[in-house]
Amino acid sequence: MENNNILLKMTNISKTFPGVKALSNVDFTVNRGEVMGLLGENGAGKSTLIKIITGYYRRDSGSGEYLFDGKPVNPTNTLAAQKLGISTIFQELNLSPLMSIAENIYLGNQPLKNGIINWKKMNEDAKKAMLDLGIDVDVSKPINSVSTAIQQMTAIARAISTDAKLIIMDEATSSLDNNEVNTLFDVIRKLKAKGISVIFVTHKLDEVYRICDRGTILKDGKFVVCKPMSELPKLDLISYMLGRDAREIVNKKKVYNKEIQENETYYEARNIRKTNCRLNGINIHIKKGEVVGLAGLLGSGRTELAKVIFGDDQKYIGYTFLNGIAVKFRSPHDAVKNKLAFCSEDRKAEGIFPYMSVEDNITMPQVGKLSKFGLISRRKQKKITERYISKLSIKTPSSKTQIRDLSGGNQQKVIFSRWLAMEPDMIILDEPTRGIDVGAKGEIENIISSIAKQGISILYISSENDELVRNCDRVVVLYEGKNVKELVGEEISSESIMAAIAAGKS
């Protein structure tokens, strides 16, 4: 039965990119005047779905149906979507930074007088539109000189001015503080009262419960469930998102070695805060030879913390200690000199030199040490490479093969080798098994446990909870930039980690 109350109805939507199926047979509906939460972890397909709704991508031909306002539509670009009444407010606010608030609201629709732009009317209209949203601000100010919250409101005012029926907010609250979030939510309630629907994409679960009427959960490009928020307890929500039932059995657990807790503390960070509220006072310490897992949802501050530790981000407040001595790394280089290593989650962008050989990739940071009179000793280079190829059993035709010809798992081993060759005291691993098949995963995990046995401390970041269970001596659970729970040894399990995330702030 067709329901007149439905504004957006998408059925059986699929989207294939070369080599990846980003969405398969997803259903999604939004009612009029409803706030719909769209939830899922990284790679769940949220942004792909949104980009199909807004016409940025086209769904696979022949797949499914896209009804807006009761009519089948097929917007081919953002302009077409906007004409239908679909506006998007992106996480990276898409505003023109040097233009005024008023211009950002009306760009492309400026009020005209005799064919030329009527600046006076534009500024008056803009002032009124902002006041409607409860914001009193000088609209002639350039947008890059006002706070993120006001920029956000400007984007919303723009959406309203184009007669939007549906406003999509993609991580709209990620850079707002609490008061600003409250203002935004007031505005969303006003939109609801006007009959405007909102799709609210976020990773902050508390906010979902505060503002959303219903939630749709995606996982790995598939539709999981769509329920009213009142029928969706937090623990259920999280297990839907992570795609693992809390009852599922974890195959293997790391044998807990109590003695490790007696070791000296190698690294410690106290009360780390960042101005954008991504980190809100994190305390963490890592002992020698210990594998500490960092658990938490996307945006809980895992990667941000790793960057702070590695000196890649200096804009934070707080104290860091190495072997009990206060240090502050000014750059990643500084961290490396102090025997830290970092395997980035984005291997392709930040890890490998794709067109260089395995040998060069392993010895890259050490060419200085391996050189004599400015000339690289190929012999020493080769010796190191061969040692690691056999030690980590890297499957490569030769040490001269270009790294891009290797499988993901072997590329990751090459990167491990690079860092191990520098003889670090601590390694930060950010999603070390991402994009690696199951067999290679096991090997990588074995390598990790053997390097920890050598006394190297490891900070293990992963969104796969059972991976943390298999590898870590201790797991620190982060939630919205704070460490909310610490699980040691036997306490670590998929369920306990999930429970800790669900418990959130408590």
Binding site: Q82, N94, S96, P97, L98, Q110, I117, N276, I317
Partner: protein
């Protein structure tokens, strides 16, 4: 009190307008060193400004390219090709000459714009290509020789050499000023003009805000080609000939003038009239060197370079300071919250 305020705001204004300051400094230097020889309007300053206008007309186009975050290296070569084509055709009929000249600018500008917007080629590289091609054609047409203007081309000669308002303003300068006024208006009061800034400020955002980014880019580069052609036609009149080797290296001088004129190298902001002071300044440097007669002409490049670096430094410093201030504000807010 009131006096102080105006003084302060004036200083602030000058700080933001390096080019006006630089021009004033040059004039002061010229007056002190050469006195009335320098200050003689009819014999000296008039000529300096006329030459500056010739460069400045194509500078407007280059400046528009800067606004959208692009560069145009082809203007000098396009102007040279225009001058050759105009001279060649004008010897048959002046109207053909002008239409042909403008056609050259239109075609090359369009090619630039099309390649850059459609195939997402770096403007620097794309316009380098058209620069080489245009220069090649210019040299090819008459075997590297210039083409003199014959009888019956008085109109073009007049454009290059005569003046209006009793010899107060040369025709090139008048054209230049009219074009500046026209583009100032377009940039402030039309959708097209505002869209130019939007594209330069954040291309992706502009796209999301339904600005037709590709069309804007195409239009801006085509306009730049057309303006180069106008410069080329005036130049033909000025030289009484189509000169295939004309304007060599001008694209660099022009880019320096644009930046000295206060346009951000990042795009998205700036005022078009800055180019006026930019080009006048560059011409004053060469004027002062010429008046002296003993200083090497290469000092012009050296001084232009130094001023360019200074202008860039000022820009970078201002951006850096803005970021610092914003950062501190955020930090204070965070501390207040916690």
């Amino acid at each position: 009190m009131n006096n102080k305020l105006t003084m302060k705001s004036m200083l602030g204004f000058l700080q933001g307008n390096t080019a006006i300051l630089a021009v004033l400094a040059m004039m002061a230097l010229g007056t002190v060193t050469y006195g009335s020889t320098f200050l003689n309007y009819g014999k000296n300053i008039y000529n300096v400004i006329r030459m500056a206008s010739l460069i400045g007309i194509m500078g407007i186009g280059v400046n528009l390219c800067f606004f959208i975050g692009g560069r145009d290296l082809s203007v000098g070569a396009v102007a040279a090709l225009t001058s050759v084509v105009t001279a060649y055709l004008s010897n048959y009929n002046v109207i053909f000459g002008i239409i042909g000249g403008l056609g050259v600018g239109l075609v090359f500008g369009f090619i630039n714009g099309y390649v850059i917007s459609r195939f997402k080629v770096q403007p620097f590289i794309a316009t380098l290509g058209t620069q080489l091609a245009a220069r090649g054609f210019a040299l090819l047409i008459n075997n590297e020789y210039s083409i003199p203007l014959l009888e019956g081309t008085e109109f073009i000669k007049k454009i290059g050499n005569e003046s209006i308002l009793n010899g107060l303003v040369s025709i090139p300068t008048a054209v230049f000023i009219i074009l500046i006024a026209l583009f100032s208006f377009i940039l402030k009061y039309t959708h097209f003009g505002r869209s130019i800034y939007a594209v330069g400020g954040n291309e992706e955002a502009a796209e999301m805000m339904c600005v037709r980014v590709k069309a804007i880019k195409l239009a801006v580069f085509t306009i730049s080609g057309l303006l180069a052609a106008i410069s080329g036609i005036i130049l033909t009149g000025r030289l009484n000939a189509g000169q295939p080797t004309a304007c060599e290296g001008w694209e660099m001088t022009i880019m320096a003038a644009v930046v000295i004129g206060g346009t951000s190298v990042r795009g998205g902001s700036g005022k078009i009239w800055g180019i006026f002071f930019g080009v006048v300044f560059v011409q004053f440097i060469s004027n002062l060197i010429n008046l002296n007669g003993r200083i090497s002409a290469y000092w012009q490049d050296i001084l232009t370079g130094i001023i360019l670096l200074l202008a860039l430094f000022t820009q970078a410093y201002q951006t850096w300071r803005k970021e610092k201030v914003a950062e501190r504000r955020e930090l204070e807010k965070q501390l207040a919250n916690s």
